[in-house]
């Protein structure tokens, strides 16, 4: 799961902010990953069904469905999916809830691209 024919690990990015999604995708592509962004829950679910990625990066503040709901659904459907969550710095409560749903790592805006790559490497490699 998560690797295409060329051996590249696929990462799906659930982010509705156009620029942030492009920055995350560009960060991962520079590091050699195949990253695809989806803007809403339906698109992300479809992408995950098609590409079966190893890692999901989800913005918990995503709307319709909420990032939390998306995380809950996807982690239930794909137990082996590793999840990284993006959230606002003041959302400690949301962080705890997301951890309960299986998010393994958390990033706040602004983020350091090299730290994100290191975290994806860790989750994809385990």
């Amino acid at each position: 799961m998560g690797e295409n024919a060329g051996g590249t690990t696929t990462v799906i990015v659930a982010e509705d902010n156009f620029l942030t999604a492009h920055l995350i995708v560009a960060t991962l592509e520079k590091a050699g990953y195949r990253a695809i962004a989806g803007r809403d829950g339906d698109e992300v679910s479809r992408l995950i069904g098609t590409h079966r990625p190893r890692v999901l990066i989800v913005n918990l503040n995503l709307s319709r469905p909420s990032g939390m709901e998306l995380l809950r659904t996807l982690r239930k459907a794909y137990a082996e999916l590793r999840a990284i969550a993006f959230l606002a710095p003041t959302q400690a409560d949301l962080r705890a809830q997301a951890a309960g749903l299986g998010a393994e790592s958390f990033f706040e805006s602004p983020f350091d691209p090299s730290a994100l790559v290191a975290e994806v490497e860790r989750l994809a490699g385990e």
Partner: protein
């Protein structure tokens, strides 16, 4: 003869009146049509402008993103190409937003580019405008740009601008980087003119807690804040997960002021560990209902989303018993929070909730059913819950029961 003259003259006057009214209607109609055309053209034009601006922004973002996230690529040359293709406005906006999204060396490079292309100078010019809204926009933009030049202007605006909105925008801008001097100026400016709206004050504390929680802690310890402000600041530290604020939260739980006790309990629930469990349990017996409600909610956070168990089986049993007694509390909030906390308290909690759901106290029944509706139950208990929810006919709790059953009918 005189009568005929009078009649014909009245007739002429009436005819003239009709003519005047008809002309007035025509003029008004023409004016309305003209106005509609103007509004329509303006709408189409502004719609087109928005679309073009969005396309340029998206084009610039797509083009620049690979250059923005790494230090290995030449950013200045890429920015120059993007400016020629998408225009200064779109590129400036992309750079500012990206500067806001990224940190580390890549962010410093973006600030340099914004300086090079003159975007910072243009925003500084805006902060010198006589129009307040322009100065607010300038201050917000400079906050996104970062860097020393922007900071110097923002520090001056935060302390000296005559308009509160501008000072507030400057303060927020100063808190984006966590720079020590900028943070101190933002705090000084904030204390100098405490914003009227609680939402603005909360927003300031939240930003400060996220970039410089130690400074916010120092501010609370300095006793410069009133009791009301101390509560807001403490809540912000709890939301930001600033563990160093836990001793302050524990101290607040011993306050004689019930509102401060409730705040302390909430924050202890967000930051504390199993050691704080007994403290939360004691709050369930507080005289003030909102402290009891805060205690039950904090226990729910601990047991639920934070996955922190009671330190030993005896404390766990005490928690279940105490929460069970709170199911018939006089306050709806306490009942609801206690029921939700019980739904997170494992097997013993579920047993207590089922007993309450089948009991005679209708308040406890409602709270227990609502919590069970959201709990994770095995099929046998699920069937029992449906049975209980469906029984009893139309009572005050019918809506709650129906909601409980509906919630369970939706596949999780």
């Amino acid at each position: 003869m005189g009568d005929i003259d009078l009649i014909s003259s009245s007739y002429a006057l009436t005819k003239q009146g009709v003519f005047v009214v008809a002309m007035a209607v025509l003029v008004l109609l023409a004016f309305a049509i003209l106005l509609s055309v103007v509004v329509l053209v303006h709408h189409l034009w502004s719609d087109r402008e928005r679309r073009v601006n969005r396309e340029r922004f998206e084009g610039a973002a797509t083009f620049l993103a690979p250059y923005l996230v790494t230090t290995e690529e030449e950013l200045s040359a890429a920015v120059a190409r993007a400016r020629a293709k998408f225009g200064d406005r779109a590129v400036g906006l992309v750079l500012r937003r990206a500067r806001f999204d990224l940190k580390g060396e890549v962010a410093s490079r973006i600030t340099e580019c914004l300086l090079e292309m003159g975007a910072v100078n243009e925003l500084i010019r805006e902060t010198k405008s006589r129009r307040d809204w322009r100065r607010v926009g300038g201050a917000r933009g400079l906050g996104e740009c970062g860097g020393e030049k922007s900071r110097t202007v923002l520090m001056d605006l935060a302390m000296n601008d005559p308009v509160g909105d501008v000072r507030r925008a400057a303060r927020e801008g100063l808190l984006t980087e966590g720079h020590a001097q900028a943070t101190q100026v933002a705090i000084d400016s904030f204390l100098q003119d405490l914003p009227r709206r609680a939402g603005w004050r909360r927003s300031f504390y939240a930003r400060l807690a996220s970039v410089a929680s130690a400074d916010l802690l120092d501010l609370i310890r300095s006793r410069q804040l009133s009791s009301g402000e101390e509560k807001l600041a403490l809540e912000a530290l709890g939301d930001a997960g600033a563990a160093a604020a836990l001793p302050l939260a524990i101290a607040a739980t011993r306050s004689r002021e019930p509102e401060l006790r409730a705040t302390g309990i909430r924050v202890a629930g967000k930051l504390g560990g199993e050691v704080e469990f007994p403290l939360l349990l004691r709050s369930l017996e507080d005289d003030a209902w909102f402290v009891r409600a805060a205690g039950a909610r904090a226990i729910e956070w601990m047991l639920g989303s934070r996955r922190i168990a009671a330190p030993d089986p005896a404390t766990q049993r005490d928690a279940t018993t105490l929460l069970g007694t709170r199911l018939d509390d006089g306050s709806w909030w306490v009942r609801a929070n206690a029921a939700r906390a019980l739904s997170r308290a494992g097997e013993e909690g579920i047993v207590v909730l089922f007993a309450a759901a089948e009991g005679r106290d209708r308040y406890a029944r409602d709270a227990a059913l609502a919590a069970l509706a959201m709990a994770s139950l095995d099929p046998v208990r699920m069937a029992r819950l449906r049975e209980i929810a469906g029984a009893g006919g139309a009572t005050e709790a019918a809506a709650v029961r129906a909601a409980a059953v509906r919630a369970r009918e939706v596949p999780a």
